[in-house]
């Protein structure tokens, strides 16, 4: 008798907990369904249609994808995006790593200097883009003024097809370097000191210690930073929109810029969704194996303990 009532009480408790769980989880999941899952599925469906928001969507099969893959302007935007993403990561990871190495040692005023370097993280891309638009301005900005004062010809950064993208890369590096520097710094602090000391006792110089001890110890952090930064780069839009409007001659037109342009200049929402699906696939191709690898690493680590 007592045993049975005990079981029913625990069943009651369990039922109450299940009800509470559903109640608490439902609102957030509903919001995510409405703002991410449904739009994502909707984008996939729309990508197979021709749709201008005036007449009803018309099924066109793979036409949008075929158009995109043969469109030289879209091809250029893919290359520009890769140029931006790869360029920023390659320069940035070296800069962020050595900056972190610098701040990993004791420095007078180190904390204050570190704060200044990651201060741009508190500024929006729009404000940073405006600031740099001024720095790059050929008539009123300081960079070309310095060149002129040195007797060199001004570079007109943002109106040159060769320099506009590097100029945007420089601006993005300026904003983002501090962020990744902080992540790398946290990784450096976790490198066991006795490993470095042992290498030092073996007579390994600064460079050998760096190449044979620190970098290998940091490989997962550096890999994480590279992937995150690269994926962020694939989504670049604001800088191009504010600073160059995708120009000159499409030289700073990115994938997301093409998406925006297809939808809101050409009113071709089907093609815009096809761009979105392609971008999603590109991101997934990079992110999913990385996730799986991370999960496996975490599991191996757990088993090892």
């Amino acid at each position: 008798m007592r045993k049975a009532s005990g079981r029913s009480a625990s069943l009651d408790l369990e039922a109450g907990q299940r009800r509470a769980a559903r109640l608490l989880a439902a609102p957030a999941l509903a919001v995510l369904a409405l703002t991410v899952v449904i739009p994502l599925l909707f984008a996939i469906v729309l990508s197979f249609t021709r749709y201008d928001m005036i007449t009803r969507p018309r099924w066109v099969g793979l036409d949008n994808y075929r158009t995109l893959l043969t469109d030289p302007v879209f091809g250029t935007s893919v290359l520009s995006t890769l140029y931006f993403a790869v360029g920023q990561v390659l320069i940035g990871i070296v800069a962020a790593f050595f900056t972190a190495m610098l701040f990993n040692r004791r420095l007078a005023g180190g904390a204050a200097m570190r704060t200044v370097i990651y201060l741009p993280q508190a500024m929006s891309y729009v404000t940073v883009a405006l600031l740099w638009s001024f720095l790059y301005d050929p008539a009123n900005g300081p960079l070309d003024a310095i060149l002129r004062a040195l007797g060199l010809s001004p570079l007109n950064f943002l109106t040159s097809t060769h320099l506009a993208m590097p100029a945007i890369i420089a601006m993005s590096l300026w904003r983002n370097m501090g962020y990744f520097m902080i992540i790398i710094l946290a990784g450096l602090k976790a490198v066991p000191g006795d490993l470095i000391e042992a290498a030092q006792l073996d007579g390994a110089g600064w460079w050998r210690r760096l190449a044979h001890v620190i970098v290998p110890q940091m490989s997962s952090t550096l890999f994480f930073v590279a992937v995150t930064w690269f994926l962020g780069g694939l989504q670049m839009f604001t800088q191009s929109y504010v600073m160059t409007q995708g120009g000159p001659v499409n030289s700073t037109r990115t994938i997301v810029y093409s998406l925006y342009d297809a939808a809101f200049t050409s009113l071709d929402f089907g093609r815009a969704c096809a761009v979105a699906v392609l971008l999603f696939l590109a991101v997934a191709v990079v992110a999913v194996p990385v996730r799986i690898k991370q999960q496996l690493n975490a599991r191996r680590l757990r088993h090892a303990h």
């Binding site: 109450g16 769980a21 559903r22 957030a28 749709y51 610098l102 992937v227």
Partner: protein
Amino acid sequence: MPTDPTFRRARALRRGAAAGRHAIALLLTALYLVPMLYIVLVSLTPDGQSTTVLPSHLAFGNFRTALAAADFGRFFLNSAFVTVVASASQVVLSCMAGYALARLPLKSARTVMALLIGLLVVPPEIVMVPLFVMVTHVPFLAGNNQFGSGGEGMLDSYATLMLPHLGSALAIFLMRQFYRDLPGELGQAARVDGASEVMIFARIYTPLTLPAVAVVTVLAFQSAWNDFLWPLITVRSNQMQTLQLGLTVFYQQNSTQWNLLMGVVLLMSLPVLAIFLFSQRYFRDGISAGAVKQ
């Protein structure tokens, strides 16, 4: 031993290296500080004077002129309103869902977690176009018929500006991790005392998650405050512009009035920079929390 010449040479070398490190660090810091201070100078340069030489005097009146040049006060308040509501929503919803996933028996918990991890890799730009089509077709609003066509639906509204920031898979994920690491005995004790499940969530566990709540708030604040693409496509009227959009529109219309533009950029960045410096720790924690993303 201190008189040993090799020792002295080593010490001198070490000192030299330390000085070199300081010099490089200062140079790097200058790379950040000089442009920022330069902007201050430009915003104080009188109209018509060159921005590449020192101004003849400091024109503090620029700030008033700049603020009056467009409805920046309104844009700022728009952004603040959207950001505060969206952040609050993200925090509340993520606490609820994170707790349910971590501490309560949820039949589909595994599926939900797998889905959330999948959603972490969806870039926000991808859902902008379908979301735009959806908000334009909400039935019975702004000239729409019962099928949701004919008008502009929910475009140009605060609700729409907030929409993409109301919930976040990353925020739920972070809160779940935090709740999971709290001791289970707390809830058991309260249950014995007859507390309801919702009470245990709200009164026992959630007050302990403040550090995680701070991180989620910072991440939500940044995503809502800095958003540009979504306001760009959904805002129609001047008065609904967010700060980021208003600044861009102003730049595109008055691109040569650098002193006014930089003045506004400066004024509008100050509150956020102040919040940033005040809550630096949580920004930094947010960065490492972002490390579970991708």
